[in-house]
Amino acid sequence: MDSFLNTKRPPVFCPGCSHERITKAVDTALVKLNLEADKTVLVSDIGCSGLFDTFFNTHALHGLHGRALTYAAGIKLANPELNVIVTMGDGGLGIGGAHVLAACRKNLDLTLIILNNFNFGMTGGQYSVTTPSDAVVGSEFLNQAEIPIDICEIAKSGGATWISRCSGHDSSLPDILCEAIKHKGFSIVETLGLCTGRYTKRNQLTPKVIDEMIERLPTYGGIVEKNQRPEYGEQYRNLANQQKSLPELLKVDKIFDLKDMKRQEIVILGSAGMRIVTAGDMVCYAAISAGFNASMKNDYNITVLRGQSVSELILSPEKIGYAGIESPTVVIALSDEGVQRRIKLFSKLEPSTFLLKEKSVSIPETSATVVEIDFKEYQIKKQDWALASLGFIAGKNQGITMEMLDFALKSRFKPAVYESAIEIVKKLATITM
């Protein structure tokens, strides 16, 4: 192909704008690389750099300010054989900074062309993240109170594997772009250019001044040795291929027949680290093995190693509607924190409620039938109290039976874990009070 430029839509930049030269340089690079138009995508966002996608006969996606890299990443991951080239201005660089950093860290095979012209051209020449502090721009004095960023330096520390900085007027720009596109990984080309519509009206910026600026700045000429590593997409696919397939979904048939199937509402009140959720899970699987429906609501702190852990279980021969607890049939109180979390519950309990309480736990006055056990006396460790309690209630046929519980443990745990779990469960299964 002689040119990728869309002759029906020629560039529309202000006279003297560097973007026009860069447009041509991109075209020259695409031709030199002999890329296939249908395997090439131009992704742009907002600002004058966001016009680029319209000038080329390639696939194109134009999106929101600063987000071009996110669309580009989605396209590249979904279809790795595409050449994905992104244009962004210094405005997009600021608002989309998190995406630039993520792209540097990931090293997905994308090429980012930054069209840095030191200001927001389209909206009135306001300052951007690259505007020098001494520039005169459309944001009055605000840029004087800040300093500009050096995106190449940031990209280097962010892990970019290929970085180049050059003038938009540099005659070798097409070759630099070729190298950037050929690089297998994330490549950044920062072009410094003139915004004749806004910036150069009030600031002495010429191609020569840009060359001098580049002289003074750290040099970036492509490969960043210290960051070299495999490309993200390949890495991802490699790792993904090593992942084990998900085990078949566990489906439990009704295998036990309870003659007197009544709805049960069980509340386990404990603390983080007591494996309350695991215990709740076991009760539900046990119930399912007898043809019950089950639901489990858990309440624990965001800081998972501290605070209360409460599990609320409903076991019902009928479909479960409202999944809140209304009249518990069984309450297991294993820690003060857990009790405090549901303190209002106790005054409402009926004598028909079976309340198992660890000796050290204090509970408010209640009409429930309270059974107290000193778990320490049975040499049960705190993290096993919940599991041991299940043995106790199953031994009394409160909601679940021993054979149901045994089935649940067998289905959910690996054999070695099952053996130790069933040991714990048996400790309290046969005590009579």
Binding site: A60, T70, Y71, A73, G74, I75, A102, D253, I302, A323
Partner: protein, 377 residues
């Protein structure tokens, strides 16, 4: 009947896989994170892609890119995240990019309460796009619905080329329940309609947004033989910026009508009509479970009350609501928010007295409260 035990969020992931989803991007947030973690166990071993975005905006961007490359995509978040999604939601709606967005709602506003449920985002989902174009919002009431509605959501998204929202709730997403997934009859899977010519050969006539009046443009993915343009800017059929008022006006009308005209096809619901009832309770989401419990008890006690559970909230199932309400003297609406949907019902039934109860305090509305509202109504 064999039962499994899972939370609503896992059921969403399983529904997505069943619908052919092969791409997920999301950012961790309680109570939606387990959709991400489930997708992460399900997609990669099967050649799918599952990505953790650097933020919510990026997650949506990844999904938009992947969808435009032809993938069926899913993302999931909660209140603070859906707020950040909104600029990309507008893009996906205005530029007809299919995707499924799950909002596992938590108590708001703002960061609110990460582990407390609410249906507080209903109006946000409806109006989260600038331009105010209509959207499709589905509301599950339990884990089984999460599974089935996710499959429906993918179908609607592919068919109408739009994002489809699932308004889940912490109380569904993170509540584990016994479910029989095999009992659910999933809808036949709908695939995106591609342009007949153009994928593997160049179709010079293809225009990415050309469509008949009120219908959906044929799709071609970025990366196929025919060059494809996508843009967030106001565009004509060719995908280039336009300022032609006629073109813009027609396009806006088409974006509105392609959704509104599909009202009946999109209407999903459950009803429980009870003989002799003079009251109908309309609700959605997890609240409808307590409503059903309440009405069951009332019926046992001699007061028959019927229920209508909306599974499609938007486009408002107007025909359904009018038809199902016709025979009832009293209409009761219950919501787990301070009244975000009820106005859609009062608007449709101006001749009826409508009793509303809303509650948004971090806990489920109890059947007892609902009975009280119905009886005092």
């Amino acid at each position: 009947m064999a039962l499994s035990f899972m939370e609503g969020n896992e059921a969403v992931a399983r529904g997505a896989i069943a619908a052919g989803c092969s791409f997920f991007a999301g950012y961790p947030i309680t109570p939606a994170s387990t959709i991400f973690s489930n997708m992460l166990t399900m997609l990669p071993p099967n050649g799918g892609i599952c990505i953790q975005g650097e933020d919510e905006i990026a997650s949506m961007g990844y999904c938009i890119g992947a969808s435009m490359a032809g993938r069926k995509v899913l993302t999931a978040t909660s209140g603070p995240g859906i707020s950040l999604y909104s600029e990309q939601i507008s893009f996906a709606i205005g530029s007809e990019i299919p995707m499924v967005i799950v909002d596992v709602q938590r108590l708001g506003p703002s960061t609110g309460s990460a582990t407390r449920g609410a249906d507080g985002d209903i109006q946000f989902l409806r109006w989260s796009n600038t331009g105010g174009l209509p959207v499709v919002v589905l509301a599950p009431k339990d884990a089984l619905d999460c599974y089935a509605l996710t499959a429906h959501a993918f179908n609607f998204a592919e068919e109408l080329r739009c994002p489809v929202f699932i308004a889940s709730n912490k109380e569904i997403g993170m509540t584990r329940e016994s479910v029989d997934l095999d009992s659910v009859e999933l809808p036949p899977i709908v695939e995106r309609k591609y342009s007949e010519i153009g994928k593997d050969e160049i179709n010079h006539k293809y225009l990415p947004f050309e469509a008949d009046k009120d219908s959906v443009p044929d799709f071609l993915p970025i990366g196929c033989k025919t060059l494809v343009r996508q843009t967030s800017s106001t565009h004509g059929a060719d995908g280039y910026i336009t300022i032609d008022p006629n073109v813009i006006g027609e396009s806006q009308e088409r974006l509105i009508n392609k959704i509104l005209n599909a009202e009946e096809r999109l209407t999903l619901y459950e009803e429980n009509h009870r003989q002799g009832a003079d009251t109908l309770v309309i609700s959605y989401g997890v609240t409808s479970r307590a409503v059903e419990d309440a009405c069951k008890t009332l019926s046992k006690n001699g007061k028959a009350v019927s229920t209508l559970t909306l599974k499609t909230l938007f486009p408002v199932p107007q025909k359904l609501i009018r038809e199902k309400s016709e025979q009832y003297q009293h209409i009761v609406v219950i919501e787990m928010n301070m009244g975000q949907y009820v106005e859609n019902i009062t608007r449709l039934l101006p001749e009826k007295k409508i009793v509303f109860y809303g509650q948004m305090n971090g806990v489920l509305i109890t059947p007892a409260k609902i009975m009280e509202v119905i009886q005092n109504g």
